[in-house]
């Protein structure tokens, strides 16, 4: 129950066993994905044909490694580009929202807050299709009216960025608001009292205080953007982010290249997570 209460050794043991099994369940898929990245076989499955690094570095068909797959390399670049924009935009708007909701009282605030949460309960597909349908009809109307082309409103990176931004912003808002809520407004008053201007107080006191939350939400936004599929699939044009490319490849039939990319992704997000953790620890 809790450590201060007596408990039978059997129950304790069974509980531990369950927890262990659970974490094995969590780790197993990732473990096999990683292991088969090194299988010297065309398929990511048993039998084990021997160890190879070809799925990373190989450049002889059919053993084309990640580092020689143009489509994958290009889509990693695309993903990074999208993720960077999404995280900048959503952290910016999230920060504005946090100040708006924490610092201001206005009519319709509760309603606006509800609307802000809405993206959390709209399935990603629907976000994707609604944006697709809406921008298409706007573009059609505009094009009919002006005779010009509005490519930005057609599936492509701009829409992918906007689509991901449309729901990731909610997360950023929540994370940053939570931190801002913990901010003691008397700190800002103290700064004013000590002679700082309003803007100076926000820059020197509030923003540094928010920084851990801003960094954390930027990292989360990156990760969410990188792995988003449902919304992206509807909005993607000719430049596909990594998940879409991988999905296409998976539909074609998987080779251990996918395992190799996945392993690299794991390493990258682990590194990113670790970095943000260290950053938070240092700041906290």
């Amino acid at each position: 129950m809790i450590p201060s209460l007596p408990q039978s050794p059997f129950a304790k043991w069974a509980y531990r066993a369950y927890v262990t099994l659970f974490f094995i369940y969590l780790g197993l898929p990732l473990a096999v994905v990683s292991v088969f990245a090194f299988n010297d076989s065309l398929f990511p499955s048993l039998p084990w044909e021997g160890f190879t690094l070809a799925w990373f570095f190989g450049n002889e068909s059919p053993f084309i490694g990640v580092f020689h797959e143009r489509a994958i390399l290009r889509s990693i670049g695309t993903s990074a580009f999208v993720a960077a924009w999404v995280s900048v935009l959503s952290v910016f708007v999230g920060t504005c929202n946090a100040f708006l909701f924490v610092r201001h009282d206005f009519r319709g605030k509760a309603l606006l807050y509800m609307l802000m949460l809405l993206p959390l309960i709209i399935p990603g597909v629907i976000l994707g299709i609604s944006i697709l349908v809406f921008t298409s009809s706007v573009a059609n109307t505009l094009e009919d009216a002006t005779g010009l082309w509005f490519d930005g409103l057609r599936p492509g990176l701009i829409l992918v960025i906007l689509g991901q931004f449309s729901f990731i912003t909610t997360f950023a808002t929540l994370v940053i608001s939570a931190r801002l809520q913990k901010f003691d407004p008397s700190l800002e008053e103290a700064a004013l009292n000590l002679g700082a201007t309003k803007a100076g107080a926000i820059r020197q006191i509030t923003v540094p205080f928010l920084l851990p939350a801003i960094v954390a939400s930027a990292v989360v936004a990156m990760l969410m953007s990188f792995e988003n599929f449902n919304t992206t699939l509807m909005l993607v044009g000719s430049d596909s982010p990594l998940t879409i490319t991988m999905f296409d490849k998976l539909k074609q039939g998987s080779t251990p290249v996918l395992n190799a990319v996945s392993l690299l992704l794991m390493l990258a997000s682990a590194a990113l997570g670790l970095m943000s953790l260290l950053f938070q620890r240092k700041k906290a």
Binding site: D184, S186, L187, E189, A190, A191, L192, N193, L194, G195, A196, T197, G200, Q204, I205, P208, F209, L211, K283
Partner: protein, 376 residues
Amino acid sequence: MTETTPDLAPSDLECRDLVKEFSEFRAVDGVSFDVPQGSFFSILGPSGCGKTTLLRMIAGFQSPTSGDLLIKGRSMIGVPPNKRPVSMVFQHLALFPTMNIGENVGFGLRQRGVARAEIKRRVGEVLERVGLPGVSERRVDQLSGGQKQRVAIARCMVLEPDVLLLDEPLGALDLKLREHMKVELKALQAAFNTTFVYITHDQSEALVMSDNIAVMNKGRFEQIGTPQEVYHAPRTAFVAGFVGDANRIPVQVVDATGGTLTLKTGGGAPLKLDAAAQGSADWRPGQRAEVFLRPEAVDLLPAGSEQAEAANMVPGVVDAVLFNGANSTVTVRASDGSLMTAALPQTGVLAALRKGDAVTTRWHPSQARCYPVAEG
């Protein structure tokens, strides 16, 4: 310069009929006072009486609905907080957690554009003066409560403000540390010779530290005076009840002629008070009033020691003994059922008093205060 103090004493801070209204509600209601240079001025009042609101008006975080507010003779109305020559120590100190101690203390100087080296020197100096040399590099959370307290003061003092405002700065500290910091704060104030305006709801803090205390209630000042005046000669029933413990006895005026005020309790027992000690109230026979009497002003006499001529002497029986070391008290029930609490010194012969013992209470007519009760 003002009506209340002679021209000779220059006053650092002066409030004239300050009012602050929140929609319908008057949080501060016509408060006037001035604080002479270099003095320690406390505002003492119960929670919600408007202390913080008043202080925040002085600091400039709230603008008065009406009235004027002068610092060193200059009106502060319309001056933003960052332009006022006052500094404030916040209730929870408001040390910047993202900066180390040195950066915290140097913050105000940086805003003024003081040179780097100069800041460093002055920060070091002021930290030394508050007894914390060499903590510049520490993080805020590496200091104890009392140390943080002193850093908060140093951060203000380095700017050499005309007035330092303190909003219950000891509220968050634990009992022992609070006792200690009371004495220390007073010493720091004396050392810097800066005007302190201190708000608190703890009477002991106000009594121990202040040169002058204003007792505040429902947005108004009920009395301004030295600690002794406020304690010994409370001007209103509220002050008498709020500052220190007291027995409260509801009475009716019997006679107010001569130097003596004669009253009678609900049970009919007669009380005599020095009329001179009672301010200037007009007493009408039959008027309802309330007598306040401090437990330590009640003498306990062994039973049977009554003397006919002594006033305010009532035989009774011990109803309860509250043993609390030096602060022990005894509650005595008179024959008419009324209760009287008296301090029970642990050194005298009566220290061994037990419940049920017969004992006589007596108090001097000059020791009690009487206030008319508003009829209604």
